[in-house]
Amino acid sequence: MNMTVQIRTAEIQDMVENAILAPSASIVSAKNVNVYYAGKQALKNISLDVAKNRVTSFIGPSGCGKTTFLKCINRMNDLIDICRVEGNIEVDGQDIYSPEVDVVALRAHVGMVFQKPNPFPKSIFENVAYGMRIHGLTNNKSELADRVELSLRKAALWDEVKDRLEQPGTGLSGGQQQRLCIARAIAVEPRIVLMDEPASALDPIATAKIEELIGDLSTNYTIIIVTHSMQQAARVSQFTAFFHMGELVEYGNTKTTFTSPNDERTQNYITGKIG
């Protein structure tokens, strides 16, 4: 186990070193985003571009607005009555807050994995098939089964569950449940997957599996991950954004952010002085 992690880390280090933030390759582009919860400002003037088919991590002390910003990208904030979003966020060059946007389709395009594994109280198969069914992606039974299998394979869960697809997803272990949730999210073929502390409820082995999975997925998907673990951010992401009290303090190449941060606050956070 340890070995894999080390190998992966080395690999990622390599990628990080070569990574650059070319605007042409960005898939999410936020400009001057302000978010308020019932008048209380949670995000202040955030502008950032997220690179396509890369892993970007959001770090920062608790309550600094990471989740809030993540939820802006697939408009999960719409579900909170008191939340108001200002500014401009583009996904694939399209302003997602413009009136002609179909939120439902946007969320199929920008998937989300939550902090706590939240499988539906349905069978493993139905959990993965859920998104395809509601979006009517396929009417064909065998095609549906194929795509469920593919998603479970991508989520590195297939071998563990292939003999019990009809059993409830809630019966899996925490790590398996989280991979099931990832399989469920990627089954609808989103371009972007938002992950809010996906491994925070998991033990180290399950965490390693999830991290490995993130690396694999990043060839086809753009992944934005919120994490409290700087080691994790360093291991999995090419880019890192550091948030502090609703502000985007530092954003860039993960290696640079961790080795030579520009801002004193980033420095303090990384060295454990704030947080």
Partner: protein
């Protein structure tokens, strides 16, 4: 794939339409339920409003010495005097059938009220006076416009001739409607124009008094014991299961209990508010216990710890410190339970509180009926005129229900403010 989330496809339009339909299903369900409520209460209120007014008619009454002996005014035949006076008002009527129809215009009560008038005003004997009397229910319905004239010229049970007489009274301004005090001050009667709710209202008051006096102390004591002394014990659980199940027993079963245990075994007086109150108390008990336990639970444990810490016994702690704080909540539960008991009918039928009660009951042992049972009885009466009495009685019942619930709401909000 790019920009696939801009709303364009017919599929996504369909899904949004389905969403809207689904939301409207919820709205429509609520509108139907509330609409029914408004329709029901509204139409009953409209039917009942008429009962607040009562038709009176006036004619000259000859209180001559021939008929009334001033020494014994109460001995006179006042019925005959009324009839004679009516004949005088319509001298053309000679036919016996027509005369009978004429007498039917005034209520049977007219002779009593005339007697009262004369006995109280003996100076008027020997004079002729224009006096007002309660009209019969048929005249009342017709004059208030509850009944329209059919093609034969009849209005309900009034024939064309009687309608014409009413018109004559009307022309001479000898017929009018007044506020119906009788409805609130009289007991039940076979004659709709004379029937009132005072006897049943008093019966309800006595019954609920018994209910409260029995259910409230037993309810709170039992809640205190279960919540403060044996929480999470096996016995506590058994009693708790018992109480939750008791709360869902059909009310008529409590009536059967009252019939066999209180009436047949203990020989308590049938139809009495005592037995009615007992039965309703047993029925209300689970509500009060459940509410009181919730009230006790809402008292912060630190108060118990503080009292126990200064050396109070558990009983002192509970009764001196916890119960006073929980009392408003308990009282709220009791009022909610009593409001339910106020409208209960079925169990009272079982123990015979369904009698025809003219007199206002004067004790908890006297035969009585209750307001909801009175409603049931009137609803069953064939006379059309009871319709508006029934509706009016329902409105009175609902007003009391609203008042009780308001008290509960006010108590609850006061209680909340204190913490």
């Amino acid at each position: 794939m790019t920009n696939s989330f801009v709303m364009r496809s017919s599929k996504s339009r369909k899904r949004h339409a389905a969403e809207m339909r689904f939301q409207w299903m919820g709205r429509i369900a609520i509108i139907i339920a509330i609409g029914f409520l408004v329709f029901m209460v509204g139409s009953i209120a409209m039917m009942g409003a008429g009962a607040l007014k009562q038709t009176h008619i006036a004619f000259d009454v000859d209180l001559s010495h021939n008929e009334i002996d001033p020494a014994f005014p109460e001995k006179a035949d006042y019925d005959a005097i009324i009839k004679a006076s009516l004949r005088k008002a319509f001298p053309d009527i000679t036919d016996r059938r027509e005369k009978r129809e004429l007498y039917r215009l005034v209520s049977a009560e007219a002779s009593f009220s005339l007697k009262n008038f004369v006995v109280n005003n003996p100076a008027h004997i020997g004079q002729t006076h224009k006096l007002w009397f309660i009209a019969s229910d048929d005249v009342d319905l017709f004059f208030k416009g509850n009944i329209t004239i059919d093609e034969k010229g009849n209005a309900g049970r009034l024939n064309a001739q009687e309608v014409a007489w009413v018109r004559i009274f009307e022309r001479n301004q000898n017929i009018e409607t007044r506020f119906n005090t009788r409805f609130f001050t009289a007991g039940d009667s076979r004659e709709p124009e004379l029937a009132g709710i005072l006897s049943s209202l008093t019966g309800t008051a006595f019954t609920l008094l018994i209910t409260f006096l029995i259910a409230f102390p037993i309810g709170i004591f039992s809640a205190i014991f279960l919540e403060e002394f044996i929480p999470q014990s096996r016995w506590g659980d058994i009693i708790e299961v018992n109480i939750t199940n008791l709360a869902a027993v059909p009310s008529i079963v409590f009536g059967i209990l009252g019939l066999t245990i209180f009436l047949n075994t203990f020989g308590m007086p049938r139809s009495s508010p005592l037995v009615g109150g007992l039965v309703l108390a047993l029925m209300t008990l689970p509500t009060i216990i459940i509410a009181s336990r919730a009230a006790l639970r809402s008292v912060s444990p630190s108060i118990r710890e503080a009292a126990l810490g200064v050396g109070a016994t558990q009983i002192q702690t509970v009764f001196h410190h916890v119960v006073p704080l929980a009392l408003p909540g308990m009282l709220t539960g009791a009022i909610v339970g009593m409001a339910r008991a106020l409208g209960e009918t079925a169990p009272l039928l079982m123990i015979g509180m369904v009698a025809f009660i003219v007199d206002v009951p004067n004790s908890i042992l006297a035969p009585a009926t209750a307001l909801p049972v009175q409603i049931f009885l009137w609803a069953d009466s064939p006379e059309r005129a009871f319709l508006e009495k029934t509706s009016a009685a329902i409105i009175v019942l609902l007003v009391f229900l609203v008042l009780m619930n308001l008290i509960a709401i006010i108590l609850r909000s006061k209680h909340r403010q204190r913490f």
